[in-house]
Amino acid sequence: MNAPRKDKDDEALLDVCHLPTFAFGQRSPMWWGTMGLVAIESTVFALSIMSYFYLRSHADTWPMARFPPDLIWGTLNTAVILLSMIPNHFAKRAAEKLDLKQVRLWMVVCMLSSIAFLAVRVLEFGALNVHWDSNAYGSAVWMLMGLHTTHLITDAYDSLVLTVLMFTGPLEGKRFVDVSENAGYWYFVVLSWIPIYAVIYWGARI
C-alpha cells in the first residue's frame, strides 16, 4: 500500500491502516443491501397477502374451488424448509469464523436442501386444486406461490454460484461476508414462507 506523504503535523491525519478490510453483519454494506432487498420483498409479500384477504372479504364463498389446497405437500415442504435452517446456520457460522472447509461442507448441504425443497414445490403446485385462470382466488394463490418460488429459484442459483466460487476461487476475505449474507437471505426466504403457507393452506380453510 502506498502510504501518503507524511505531513509535518502528524495530528492532521487519521490513519486507517489498522482497520480490517471486511466485516460481518450490520457493519458490512452487504448486510444493508441485503436488508434493502428483504424490505422490498417483504412489502411485496405483505401486499400480496393483503390482496388475498381483500378479495376474500369481497367474496361470497371462499375458496372459490371445490377443495382447498391439499395439506400434504405444503406441510411437508414447510418441514423441509424449516430443517434447512440448520445447515444454513452452520454455513453462516463457519463463514464468520473464516473456516473454508466447513463453509464448503455446509454450503453443499444447503444446496441439497434447496433441491429437495424445489422438488416438493413442484408437487405442491399440482395439489393446489385450483388454476390461476379459474377465478380471483386461484390467481391470488398462484401469485403468492409464484412469488415465493421465484425467490427460491433465484436464491438457489445464487447459492450455487457462490458454492462453486468457494471451491474454485479466486477467494478473498469478503467472500465469507457474501456467504454470511447469502445465509441471512435464506433465513428471509424461509421465514417469509411461514405466513405464505398459513395463507395458502389455512386461509382457504379457516
Binding site: R27, W32, G33, L47
Partner: protein
C-alpha cells in the same frame, strides 16, 4: 463565511495522486464507455437521460395544448389524444420526476458525505441502463403507434384486455417494471451509501439536510414501489395469461387496482417533492449565507412527511364507494401533512429573514417555489374535503392542482438546483442573463398555463377530453393556457442554449463559486474520479464554514485499487476498509438481457423462462471476481478476527 480555512490541507504525493486518479477512472474506448461505473459518470448520463425524457414529455404536452387551444380542435384525433396524455403523464412521473431526483442524488450524496463512490457502483450502473432501456422501449412503442392510452394510472377495467386490446397497456405495465426496478435498486444504493459510507465524524446529526431528504425518500421508495410493481404484474398477467385479479365476473375487484396503485402513487408525490426540499434547504442556506434555522425541526419534519405520506392514498379514491368513516380518516391525514410542510416553510422564512440575500437565479427558482407550492397546497386542502372533491373530481381543477404541486414542488427547485450545482458538474457557471430569462418566462408561462385551468375546472371542463364545442365558452381560457405552454417551451429552449453555451464558454467556476458550506465544494470542479484526494474528517454541520479541527483528513487508504472507508451508522466512527469492484461491461450486458426478458414477456409468457438463462449468465460474469485483482488485494488483507484478537 468561507474564511475559516486552516493552512494548506495535507496532500498526497504527486505520483500517489496520479495513481489514485488512474484507479478510479473509467476505462477508455467504446467498450469502456459501456463499462463505466463511476458514480459521477453514471449520474451525468442519468441526469441527461431524464432531461431528454422531460423534454419529450414537454413536447407531448405542447401537442395536447395545441389541440385544446381552440374549440373543435383538429390537430390530432381522439385515439392520438389518448396516447398523448397517457404518454405525457407516464413520462413525466416514471421517466422524469422520481428518477431525476435519484440521478442528482447519486452524483451529490457521495460528495456531500465525503465518500469516494456510491455503495454497489455496478448495481448503480445496471439500474441506469435498465431505466434507460425501459424508457426507450416506451417511446419506440409510441412511435410505431402502440403508445399506452389508458391514462398514466391505467385504471381497470379500461386497461383490461376487453377494453384495451393490443399491446399498448402491456407496454405501459412493462415500463413500470423497468422503471420501478431501477428505482428500487437506486434506493438500496443510496441508503447503504448514506448509512455506511459517511466520512469519519459526520454523525447523523451533522448530515447535510439534502442527504436527509434523500435518505427519507429512499426508504419511501422501498415500501411504496413494490405496490405498483405488484399491481402492474397482476394487470399484465390478467391480460396475458388469464388471471382474474381485476375481473369482477370471476371474483376479482377493480378497486384492488386503485388501492395498490395509490398506495404507491401518493407516496410517489412525496418522493418527487421531498428531495427538492433538500435542494431548497441547501440553496437557501448558501444564498442567505447562514445555516438553515432549526436543523432538528427540519429533519423531523422530513421524516414526519415521509411517514404521513403513506396514510393518504385513499384521498385519490374519494369518488369511489368506500366507507364514509374511512374517508374522514384520510381527510384528516391529508390535512395533517400540512403541519411538517409548514414547519419547514417557517424555518426557511426565518433563514431568509435573518440572512443576507444574494438574489441569483438559483434563489429565484426557490422563491418561486414558495408562491406556487402554496397555491398548489391550498387547492390541495380544497380537494382533501370529500364533498368538494366529488364535485371537482376528474375536472381540469385537478390538472391545475397537480401541476402546481408537482411543478412548484419539484421542477422549480430542480431548475434552481441545476443552476446551483452546474458549476460543480462542469467547472463552469451557467449564464446569469439567460438564467433570468429562463426563470421569468417559465414562471409567467407556468401561471398562464395552469392558473386558468382552475377556472376551467370549476366551470366543469373534464380532463382527458380531446376537444370541446365552442358553446361551452372554454375557448379563451384554453387559448391563454396554450400561450403559456409555448412560453414554457421557449424558456426550456433558452435553458438548453444556456447549458450548451456555458459548458464550453461559461465563466470558470473554481472549487467554491457560491461560498457554500458543504463538502462537495471542497474539491475541484468537476470533481476528480476519486472525489477526494484524501478523505476528509468532519467536525461540524457545515465543514467549510467552520474552523478546521484536527485530524482533518484520513490517511492509509489504498491508491492502487478502489478502496473505501466504511463507518458506523449513527456516529460515523471508523469501522473497516472495503474494496469496491472495478469497472465492468457485465452490468450493461445483463441489463440488455433483462430487457429481452421484459419485452419478450409482452409477447409470450415463456420469455420469462428462456430469457432467464442469459440474465443468469450475465449476472454470474458480473459477480465472478478477477484473479489478478484479487491477488493484488489479498496482499494487504486484514481479517476482522485478527484485529479483534
Amino acid at each position: 463565511m468561507s474564511m475559516a480555512k486552516s493552512p494548506a490541507p495535507p496532500r498526497l504525493a504527486p505520483q500517489d495522486a496520479a495513481q489514485l486518479h488512474q484507479t478510479w477512472s473509467d476505462p477508455p474506448g467504446l467498450v469502456g464507455w459501456f463499462s463505466a461505473i463511476n458514480h459521477k459518470t453514471i449520474s451525468m448520463r442519468f441526469m441527461v437521460t431524464t432531461f431528454v425524457f422531460f423534454v419529450m414529455g414537454g413536447l407531448l404536452a405542447l401537442a395536447i395544448r395545441t389541440q385544446l387551444a381552440q374549440p373543435d380542435g383538429k390537430t390530432v384525433g381522439p385515439d392520438m389524444y389518448n396516447q398523448l396524455f397517457t404518454m405525457h403523464g407516464s413520462t413525466m412521473m416514471f421517466l422524469f420526476a422520481v428518477p431525476v431526483m435519484q440521478a442528482v442524488a447519486t452524483y451529490l450524496v457521495p460528495l456531500m458525505i465525503g465518500a469516494r463512490s456510491v455503495a454497489f457502483p455496478r448495481m448503480n450502473a445496471f439500474a441506469y441502463w435498465i431505466f434507460t432501456l425501459g424508457g426507450i422501449m416506451l417511446f419506440i412503442a409510441f412511435l410505431v403507434g402502440s403508445g399506452p392510452d389508458a391514462g398514466w394510472f391505467a385504471y381497470v377495467p379500461l386497461s383490461l384486455l376487453q377494453f384495451s386490446p393490443g399491446k399498448r397497456v402491456d407496454i405501459w405495465a412493462q415500463m413500470i417494471t423497468f422503471t420501478e426496478m431501477a428505482g428500487l435498486m437506486e434506493a438500496i444504493v443510496l441508503i447503504t451509501t448514506i448509512l455506511k459510507m459517511r466520512a469519519p465524524g459526520m454523525t447523523l446529526n451533522r448530515m447535510p439536510l439534502f442527504v436527509w431528504t434523500i435518505l427519507a425518500t429512499s426508504f419511501m421508495v422501498l415500501f411504496s414501489m413494490p405496490a405498483v410493481m405488484l399491481a402492474s404484474t397482476a394487470l399484465i398477467t390478467d391480460r396475458l395469461v388469464g388471471t382474474q385479479f381485476y375481473n369482477p365476473l370471476k371474483g376479482g375487484d377493480a378497486l384492488l387496482w386503485q388501492h395498490l396503485f395509490w398506495f404507491f402513487g401518493h407516496p410517489e408525490v412525496y418522493m418527487i417533492f421531498i428531495p427538492p426540499l433538500g435542494f431548497i434547504s441547501t440553496i437557501i442556506a448558501t444564498f442567505s449565507r447562514r445555516p438553515v434555522v432549526g436543523y432538528p425541526a427540519m429533519v423531523l419534519a422530513v421524516i414526519a412527511t415521509a411517514f404521513l405520506a403513506f396514510g393518504l392514498w385513499v384521498h385519490h379514491m374519494f369518488a369511489t364507494n368506500l366507507p364514509e368513516l374511512g374517508k374522514t380518516f384520510f381527510t384528516a391525514a391529508s390535512l395533517m401533512i400540512a403541519i411538517p410542510t409548514a414547519i419547514q416553510i417557517f424555518c426557511w422564512i426565518a433563514t431568509l429573514w435573518t440572512g443576507r440575500l444574494d438574489l441569483r437565479t438559483p434563489l429565484l427558482f426557490v422563491l418561486a417555489f414558495f408562491v406556487i407550492l402554496v397555491i398548489g397546497g391550498l387547492t390541495g386542502l380544497m380537494l382533501a374535503s370529500v364533498s368538494l372533491d366529488t364535485q371537482l373530481h376528474d375536472s381540469f381543477f385537478v390538472v391545475a392542482h397537480l401541476h402546481y404541486v408537482l411543478m412548484g414542488g419539484a421542477v422549480f427547485p430542480l431548475f434552481g438546483a441545476f443552476y446551483y450545482w452546474f458549476p460543480k458538474f462542469t467547472g463552469r457557471m451557467l449564464g446569469e442573463t439567460l438564467g433570468k430569462w429562463n426563470f421569468w418566462l417559465f414562471f409567467i408561462g407556468f401561471n398562464l398555463t395552469f392558473f386558468p385551468m382552475h377556472v376551467l375546472g370549476l366551470q366543469g371542463m373534464p380532463r382527458r377530453v380531446y376537444t370541446y364545442p365552442s358553446e361551452m365558452g372554454w375557448g379563451s381560457l384554453n387559448f391563454l393556457a396554450t400561450i403559456g405552454a409555448f412560453m414554457m417551451a421557449l424558456s426550456v429552449l433558452l435553458f438548453i442554449v444556456n447549458v450548451v453555451h456555458s459548458r464550453r464558454r461559461g465563466a470558470v467556476a473554481g472549487d467554491d463559486p457560491w461560498g457554500a458550506g458543504t463538502l462537495e465544494w471542497s474539491v475541484a470542479s468537476p470533481p476528480p474520479p476519486a472525489n477526494f484526494e484524501m478523505v476528509p474528517v468532519v467536525h461540524a454541520r457545515d465543514p467549510l464554514w467552520s474552523a478546521q479541527k484536527l485530524p482533518s483528513h484520513v490517511s492509509g487508504l489504498a491508491n492502487d485499487y478502489r478502496e473505501i472507508l466504511v463507518t458506523s451508522v449513527a456516529d460515523a466512527d471508523l469501522d473497516h476498509r472495503l474494496w469496491l469492484p472495478a469497472s465492468s461491461i457485465w452490468p450493461f450486458l445483463t441489463a440488455l438481457a433483462t430487457t429481452v426478458l421484459f419485452i419478450g414477456s409482452v409477447f409470450t409468457p415463456w420469455a420469462v423462462v428462456w430469457a432467464m438463462v442469459p440474465v443468469a449468465i450475465g449476472a454470474t460474469f458480473w459477480f465472478w471476481p478477477k484473479k489478478d485483482i484479487v491477488e493484488q488485494r489479498t496482499g494487504s488483507e486484514r481479517s476482522p478476527l485478527e484485529v479483534e484478537s
